[in-house]
């Protein structure tokens, strides 16, 4: 750690990991509800568990992105953070707002929460991923603006690099597109259309900028490759992300009442969306092959390579699988969607956050370069446990999805939704099994932080 103020990142990273554990616990609750329908009913109905699962995911990824920014921006800008105090204050504001929201989901019926928080004044609740009470959404905007102000001014007074610039554009875009969550027209078609301006333009737009810039930072640090080369890659990757991803939004406009020409625009452009993810994979492996140093933090390199591969598989391959309109006609809103959503979120955004945590955390904790060998071994085991179990979760859901599509939508005598769900129960049991392994991997990950011992130092490569 070169600058004292980078240390605020540590708070953000710890909170991120804590909420990640909560997310997975609720994932397992839902996984059980899929096969034992009355599990925890009516205390925690499925929809409540789902809100907790997905909202915790989003919140902890945001903690991760902000932590990443607070760590890497002072280092890139070669100056202390504009206001470490503000960063700490906003951390607590965000954490408390997040915790109260989750408690609200769990402790009172959702309609009561809506009433308590005055949803009727500005109705924004009750839409997938955007279930937060309106006041929480306003809180998120305030936190995001203070954060942008803080890192923005840090960059302004310091060195401006391509990495910080791209990260800032990505984070600003994240805040801007979130504003669409306040637009909730009565017209269902418009509501759905603009809902995607948050969700799609996040994960297949500005978040890719965030991911690519964090990846570039970790690669510069762990491979010692020349910044010029890395920056050129970074630009071209994010160029492809936005060139394909902006119009690619159309792959969500096929069946929600938008005009037919979106079948073409959406299919063609979203079919190109795997390109930036593929480039990230080539980029990561290329840089590691051309490395000038052997960095002793092996898990950080592993996460960086892992995120590149898994993002390509989850977003690129699984995304492509169902993105052409004639295919999506059958797969839309099935377990195929869930399979893709899981691997894409894990591969791209979970793993990039874990990559920067893996790189930065030892330094934030005052180590020279990395954790002890024993701790690294544990962390790498957790990498494989989580990653392989996520591959299996995806495969089982894909199996369930193919059967669901066939039985419910494709065969000559289509069966009803609930009948089909009973028939594919086995796949849901296997998904739950893989989920348990995922949780074990995650707990091992947490445990790896508590393994002490002798640390290693940087060795230059000839």
């Amino acid at each position: 750690m070169k600058y004292e103020s980078q240390s605020v990142a540590k708070l953000y990273f710890i909170a991120a990991i804590g909420l990640f554990v909560g997310q997975i616990v609720f994932g397992l609750v839902m996984g059980l509800q899929y096969v034992m329908g009355d599990f925890m009913f009516p205390e925690i109905p499925f929809n409540v568990a789902r809100m907790v699962h997905t909202n915790l995911l989003i919140v902890w990824l945001l903690f991760g992105f902000m932590g990443a920014a607070y760590y890497l921006i002072p280092e890139e800008a070669e100056t202390e953070l504009h206001s470490p105090m503000l960063a700490k204050l906003m951390f607590w504001v965000f954490l408390v707002a997040g915790a109260l929201t989750i408690l609200g989901y769990l402790l009172v019926p959702y309609s009561t929460l809506a009433e308590m928080t005055g949803n009727s004044l500005l109705p924004t609740m009750g839409r997938e991923f955007l279930e937060q009470p309106t006041i929480t959404k306003i809180g998120i905007v305030i936190v995001a603006l203070s954060f942008l102000y803080n890192v923005g001014f840090t960059v302004l007074k310091g060195r401006k690099t391509v990495i910080t610039l791209v990260l800032l554009i990505g984070l600003a875009g994240l805040a801007i597109f979130f504003l669409f969550s306040f637009y909730n027209p009565d017209n269902l078609v418009k509501d759905k259309y603009y809902w995607w301006f948050v969700v799609h333009l996040w994960v297949e737009g500005v978040w890719e900028l965030i991911m690519a810039s964090i990846l570039a930072f970790v690669l510069i640090k762990t491979t010692g490759v020349d910044r010029e080369i890395i920056e050129k890659w970074l630009y071209i990757i994010i160029a492809m992300a936005l060139i394909t991803g902006l119009i690619g939004t159309g792959h969500h406009f096929f069946w929600i009442g938008a005009p037919e020409y979106w079948l073409w625009w959406g299919s063609i452009f979203s079919a190109l969306e795997p390109i930036p993810f593929f480039m990230m994979t080539v980029f990561a492996f290329n840089m590691v092959n051309k490395r000038r140093i052997n960095h002793p933090n092996q898990p950080a390199v592993l996460w960086a390579l892992g995120t590149a591969v898994m993002a390509f598989l989850g977003a690129g391959v699984w995304g492509f699988m169902h993105t052409l309109a004639p295919v999506n006609y059958y797969t839309h809103g099935t377990q195929i969607t869930a399979a893709h959503g899981h691997m894409a979120f894990y591969g791209a955004y979970v793993m990039i956050v874990l990559a920067i945590i893996s790189y930065a955390m030892p330094l934030l904790r005052g180590r020279k370069a990395c954790n002890s060998a024993a701790s690294q071994v544990a962390e790498m085991w957790s990498f494989w446990l989580m990653t392989i179990s996520m591959v299996f979760i995806t495969l089982f859901l894909t199996g369930a999805g193919i059967l669901q599509v066939y039985l419910q939508r494709f065969s000559d005598e289509p069966m009803s939704f609930m009948v089909v769900q009973d028939k594919i129960e086995l796949f849901y049991w296997m998904r739950e099994g893989a989920g348990v392994v995922f949780l074990i991997g995650l707990l091992l990950y947490v445990y790896s932080f508590f393994i002490g011992g002798e640390e290693r130092t940087v060795e230059e490569k000839v």
């Binding site: 899929y34 034992m36 329908g37 009355d38 009913f41 009516p42 109905p45 499925f46 929809n47 409540v48 789902r50 959702y110 309609s111 809506a114 009433e115 009727s120 109705p123 609740m125 009750g126 839409r127 997938e128 279930e131 009565d186 017209n187 269902l188 418009k190 759905k192 259309y193 050129k232 890659w233 630009y235 071209i236 994010i238 160029a239 936005l242 902006l246 119009i247 969500h252 096929f254 069946w255 929600i256 009442g257 938008a258 005009p259 037919e260 979106w262 079948l263 006609y329 059958y330 839309h332 809103g333 099935t334 377990q335 869930a338 419910q408 939508r409 289509p414 009803s416 939704f417 609930m418």
Partner: protein, 144 residues
């Protein structure tokens, strides 16, 4: 990458490309607004339907169900439930009304929301309105 392709070229592709395709997205969005009146069933967007949408939201129905294929995948698609229930809002109301408070042992159960008559009517009308949107023939069949 080769030396012929420079960093500033990459940067220009990024700025030029993003701005261009963002403007294209805006243009297509504008065009989409023009096309909507033909397709979005707004003529049936009554105050009852509006209230129904609000109830749909504040009870987080989309946390279990999908609507036009979006939402959760735990419970049936509701974009065409009106047709599936024989074009009857009464059948929809009867179903919602009759959910047992403690659920059905061992089965996925829908909560009992204790809606009054006016609320039941609003939800059913909202679902009927949704079923009238032109979705390019989706879903493939009545099962949703």
């Amino acid at each position: 990458m080769s030396e012929v392709f420079t960093k500033s070229m990459a940067r220009n592709i990024f700025y030029g490309g993003s701005v261009f395709f963002f403007l294209l997205l805006l243009a297509l969005t504008f065009q989409t607004h023009e096309a909507w009146p033909e397709r979005d069933n707004h003529e049936n967007l009554t105050d009852t339907v509006r209230h129904g949408k609000e109830l749909w939201e504040v009870n987080n129905c989309v946390g279990c169900h999908s609507l036009l294929g979006e939402g959760a995948y735990f419970a049936p698609e509701l974009g065409n439930v009106y047709q599936r229930y024989g074009n009857s809002t009464d059948a929809i109301k009867a179903f919602i009304m009759s959910r047992p408070k403690e659920g059905i042992p061992g089965r996925r159960s829908m909560p009992q929301f204790n809606f009054d008559d006016e609320e039941l009517e609003a939800i059913a009308q909202f679902l009927k309105y949704a079923s009238g949107i032109n979705t390019n023939d989706w879903p493939p069949n009545i099962q949703g």
